[in-house]
């Protein structure tokens, strides 16, 4: 287990198929670090720029709602966090499929580093929703299908983060975590369609619907810019965490190799 990345790539003795080879190109930790080292600063800069424009537009220059007044500005954080919670979890499910079928070591590492960030986004979604619900609905929390399913999503994120770290053998942790992530994926369509399948206190979708968005463009555009900005920030944080994890494993492998050399003098 001193070099899990190399060990896992070497575990496919048959020549990988074309798709498989492309998939495993970035399993080489050196190549991954070199490639993402160039991407990451661009990602940070883009995230801060887009988020700066989006938040200024949303919090200062966009109009209030005719009924909700200025409180509607909570939406510009709440909605991107909700989308990131669901989109991020879909990403976790895809990484888990890659982990279980192709035993891709980088998918394991990324999934491990993704779940705390996803849990944070979901927590922010719940917190801002609660702060919005009190003045508008008259309550911090109700047990309707939408709110409850998002709370379940939050616990799935936390459960995954805890489970992958609960094993001495990181590869076993990754397998078990991937299974939990895939089982939990049934909750994502439930979150999305809960407002259509059951009557809930939470209103149905405004932006993602077949008819025209039920939102004026002066609110829709800043919302979309904020969503892009928060998504870039989310990606940058996950990538930075994954790079740190790859480097951490490298350091540990080097330390182990040195300890072994010193133990067995030539």
């Amino acid at each position: 287990m001193d070099h899990p990345l190399a060990a896992a790539t070497g575990a496919t003795p048959t020549r990988p198929a074309v798709g498989g080879r492309n998939l495993h190109r970035f399993a080489n930790p050196g190549r991954f670090l070199r490639a993402t080292g160039k991407v990451l600063p661009v990602l940070w800069a883009a995230a801060l720029l887009v988020l700066g424009i989006g938040l200024a537009w949303a919090l200062v220059f966009s109009p209030p709602d005719w009924q909700q007044g200025e409180t509607v500005r909570i939406m510009y954080v709440h909605v991107p966090m909700a989308w990131l919670a669901m989109g991020g979890y879909t990403g976790l499910a895809i990484l888990s499929v890659m982990s279980l079928i192709w035993r891709h070591p980088l998918a394991d590492l990324t999934a491990r580093e993704l779940s705390p960030v996803g849990a944070a986004a979901t927590a922010l979604c719940l917190a801002t929703g609660s702060l919005w619900g009190k003045p508008m609905w008259g309550t911090w929390w109700v047990w309707d299908a939408r709110l409850t399913s998002v709370l379940v999503l939050f616990f799935l994120w936390l459960g995954h983060a805890a489970l992958v770290r609960a094993f001495d053998d990181p590869e076993r942790g990754a397998r078990v975590g991937a299974i939990l992530a895939l089982v939990g994926f049934v909750n994502v369509p439930i979150v999305k369609f809960s407002v259509d399948w059951w009557n809930t206190l939470h209103q149905p979708a405004s932006v993602a619907r077949l008819a025209a968005p039920g939102m004026h463009v002066d609110m829709l555009y800043p919302l979309l810019i904020c969503t892009i900005g928060f998504s870039l920030l989310f990606a940058a944080v996950v990538l930075a965490r994954t790079r740190a994890a790859v480097m951490e494993r490298r350091v540990r492998a080097l330390q182990l190799a040195r300890a072994r050399r010193e133990d067995a003098p030539a």
Binding site: T14, G20, V60, F61, P63, P64, D65, W66, Q67, Q68, V72, M75, V97, L100, I101, W102, P135, M136, W137, G138, T139, V142, W143, D144, A145, L182, V183, V186, I190, W197, W198, N199, T200, L201, Q203, P204, A205, S206, R209, A211, A212, P213, G214, M215, H216, V217, D218, M219, L220
Partner: protein, 169 residues
């Protein structure tokens, strides 16, 4: 069959089984997942008067009567409708800010012997329209929408409307 293909098949089969199980479970609990009953549900199911439940619908236009008790506590009587049916609701307490005629509400309480509903909690239900005040005013002035009559007109008719007479920021 390679090991990867076998793992893919196992994963697909497990996913199919899990999705089926979830769909069956949700279908079985359909009634319990309902957050509130509509006035039509109340008319067909006749919920017993000793059990609290939630009643949801739109506040009927022209039905709201606000009172102030001798102790200064506010109370209100209004009708909650879903179109074909309506239930009279009495509530003692402060109504939420969003409460108005034509607004969606969810009330928690018990059915009284006279068929009215005595609420202990009233929550406002926001719909999925987000509209600047200038656009809402323009729709009202032109007679396209009366908020106390119900939902806003189709979004495509107003969601790109210019915000006339806006007073900055």
């Amino acid at each position: 069959m390679t090991r990867k293909k076998r793992r893919l098949m196992i994963l697909l089969l497990a996913g199919l089984g899990l999705a089926t199980a979830t769909a069956l479970t949700l279908a079985a609990f359909q009634d319990n997942l309902v957050f509130f009953l509509s006035p039509s549900d109340v008319a067909t199911r006749h919920p017993p008067g000793d059990r609290a439940f939630r009643l949801g619908g739109l506040v009927e236009t022209g039905s709201v009567e606000r009172h102030t008790g001798s102790d200064g506590r506010p109370s209100a009587t209004f009708r909650v409708t879903d179109g074909p049916n309506a239930v009279t609701v009495t509530y003692a307490g402060v109504l939420p800010d969003l409460f108005r005629e034509g607004q969606g509400v969810v009330t928690l309480g018990k059915l009284q012997p006279d068929g009215s509903f005595r609420a202990t909690e009233v929550l406002a239900r926001h719909d999925e329209t987000y509209m600047p005040p200038e656009v809402a005013d323009a729709l009202r002035r032109s007679g396209h929408w009366n908020p106390s009559q119900g939902a806003a007109p189709p979004a495509a008719t107003w969601n790109t409307a210019p915000r006339e007479g806006r007073s900055g920021g």
